[in-house]
Every structure is written in structure tokens, then in C-alpha cells.
């Protein structure tokens, strides 16, 4: 006996992502799924961004890591609500992991929720978590060949934050090549050049975020 199924294998994830989406809408929270390879500077960017938005926008953070709580401690030091998820080996956050921690966050008192995904340039782009937008960080020390090597993440993101531009003189990376390749993969991508070390470009990125949250 043949049974028709025709079900997307990741349907369970999509269903829970839609449920998260409903909870976010109800609480009027704007959600950003922040992705990058390990060490690109996601947590540093969050620290700088949260300080920049302080007093204007109420933020909260979900930290995803395979193990450890050091990122959540860094964010907690800024006095914003933060939850650490340890995936215990899984290479990405999925909708269910997010769903389970939402009860512990003051969503109604939050305007903007950052979800810092597991450091990985591949898998996180495949799993929706109910976010409004995906954004990615690429540090210029990773090299200018990354857009064409990991195209999906660049295609799925609404914003690309190029971090560590203070180190540009010490690398062979070409910002122009990164921009050109990333834009050809995703013509609507918004690109920001920042340095979390010097603070350059943070205000512009924070302004863009503020407009997104308030629109």
C-alpha cells in the first residue's frame, strides 16, 4: 500500500519557527538572527551595539554556543537580559531551542532581540528560528574569498557587517572584492564596515537597526 506524504523534512522546524514568530509579533519584538564563522566578532559587535542603543531601544540577547557561558557573561555585564543556550555539539540553533527559552525572557519589555547563533558559516543559514531578519558578520581577516565559498549565508542575510576593518592595512583582503561578490549574490544586501576595536561604523549600523525596529 502506497501512502502519499509530501512533507518537508524540516517542517517541524518551520512550524515551531512560525509559533516563535507569533510570540514575537504579539510582544512587538524585532528579532535578528546574527550569524558568522567563529571569531568574526559577533559578541563584540553586540557589546558595542547594545551600548550604542542604550536609552533608545530596549534589547535582549539569546547566546548560542556549543559549550560555555563566557558570551552570556559578557552581555550580562551590560545589564541587559541574556539567556545562554548550549547546543551540546549541534552546529546551529533551531526553532525549538529558541522556543524553549522564550519563557525566560521579558519579551514584552523588549524592543529588539538579538539571537547570536553558533559560530559556523554553513548550517545556521538553513534553519529559520522565527526571526525578522538574518544578519551576518564577516571579519576582513577571514579573507575576501568567503562570499563565493559560503554563498548561502550571504544570500539569506539582509545585512553584512564587515568587522575588524582597522586591520585592513595588515591583510591582503580587498573590501571591494567582498562587496562586489556579496552584492552579486544578494543585490539587496546592506553592507556596514565597522571596527569593534575602534568603534568606527557602529553608529551607522545602530541607526539602521533603530529604523528597522521602529518601522
Amino acid at each position: 500500500m502506497k501512502v502519499k506524504v509530501v512533507t518537508r523534512i524540516l517542517e517541524a522546524n518551520e512550524r515551531i519557527a512560525a509559533e516563535n514568530r507569533r510570540l514575537f509579533d504579539e510582544a512587538k519584538v524585532y528579532v535578528i538572527n546574527l550569524m558568522s564563522g567563529p571569531g568574526a566578532g559577533k559578541t563584540s559587535l553586540l557589546e558595542k551595539t547594545i551600548k550604542e542603543l542604550n536609552g533608545k531601544i530596549k534589547t535582549a540577547v539569546i547566546e548560542g554556543d556549543i559549550a560555555g557561558t563566557s558570551d552570556a557573561e559578557r552581555i550580562g555585564n551590560l545589564g541587559v537580559p541574556v539567556i545562554q543556550i548550549n547546543t551540546g555539539g549541534a552546529c546551529h540553533l533551531d526553532a525549538n531551542m529558541i522556543n524553549e527559552v522564550l519563557v525566560s525572557l521579558p519579551l514584552k519589555e523588549t524592543d529588539l532581540l538579538f539571537v547570536e547563533n553558533v559560530g559556523n558559516l554553513v548550517c545556521p543559514a538553513e534553519f529559520n528560528i522565527g526571526e525578522d531578519i538574518k544578519a551576518m558578520v564577516l571579519s576582513i581577516t577571514e579573507g575576501d574569498d568567503k562570499p563565493l565559498k559560503y554563498p548561502l549565508m550571504f544570500q539569506e542575510s539582509s545585512a553584512l557587517i564587515l568587522n575588524k576593518i582597522d586591520l585592513l592595512p595588515y591583510t591582503n583582503a580587498s573590501i571591494e572584492k567582498i562587496r562586489e561578490d556579496a552584492m552579486s549574490l544578494n543585490p539587496s544586501l546592506k553592507i556596514f564596515e565597522v571596527s569593534c576595536k575602534t568603534g568606527k561604523g557602529i553608529a551607522e549600523w545602530a541607526d539602521w537597526l533603530t529604523k528597522k525596529v521602529k518601522s
Binding site: 500500500m1 502506497k2 501512502v3 502519499k4 506524504v5 509530501v6 552546529c91
Partner: protein
Amino acid sequence: MHEASIALSVLEIAVDNCRKAGYNRIESIRLKIGRASGIMTDALLFAFNAVKADTIAAKAGIIIDEIPVSGLCNNCGKDFVTNEKYILCCPECSSASFNIKTGRELEITDMEVF
């Protein structure tokens, strides 16, 4: 990349649908997998064989229909189909700006049950 969790989802969906249809044994499950879905079929088969033990799918085989990558180029406007797993540029004009139409599928299409 995460074939074990995909194998678990396949098992869960198949068992659920088998029971709903009023049957107790799964003979085979047919999947549609796009070549650019990031799934290694060998790893998926290996993982499925591990997770199916002691379930109503314990003897179930997996049949995989691989879907090639196809798309529409934003530069030359041509529809293309390729045998590559992942493409970085349009096979016709080498532009990196294109939209993928097929190749990212990850679906269960049907199954044989008793």
C-alpha cells in the same frame, strides 16, 4: 552536515503518517533530495539505519530521488540546469547573480506501508 537529526525527522514523519493511515509497518520511504540541500546521502542512509532499529520502520529501505540544481540567471536571463552540487556562477555566462529554482529540496514524497 546534520544528517542524524534529518534522519530522526524522516523517521518521525514516516511513523506518524503510517499510523495515521492505519498501518503498522513501513516497507520503504521515498525522499526527494536536492543536490544543493547540503545533505550527504550516504551519511543520511547510515544515520537512518541507526535510528530505525526497534521501530515500525526497522526494515524500511530509503529510496532517494536526487534533484539537480536549476535556476534562472539574473544577468543573461537563461534558465539553466547543472550536474554540479553547488554553483558559484551561471553555467552560461559566469555571472554570480542568479536565483536557484530547484536543488534545495528536502522532502518525503511517499512510502510503502503494510
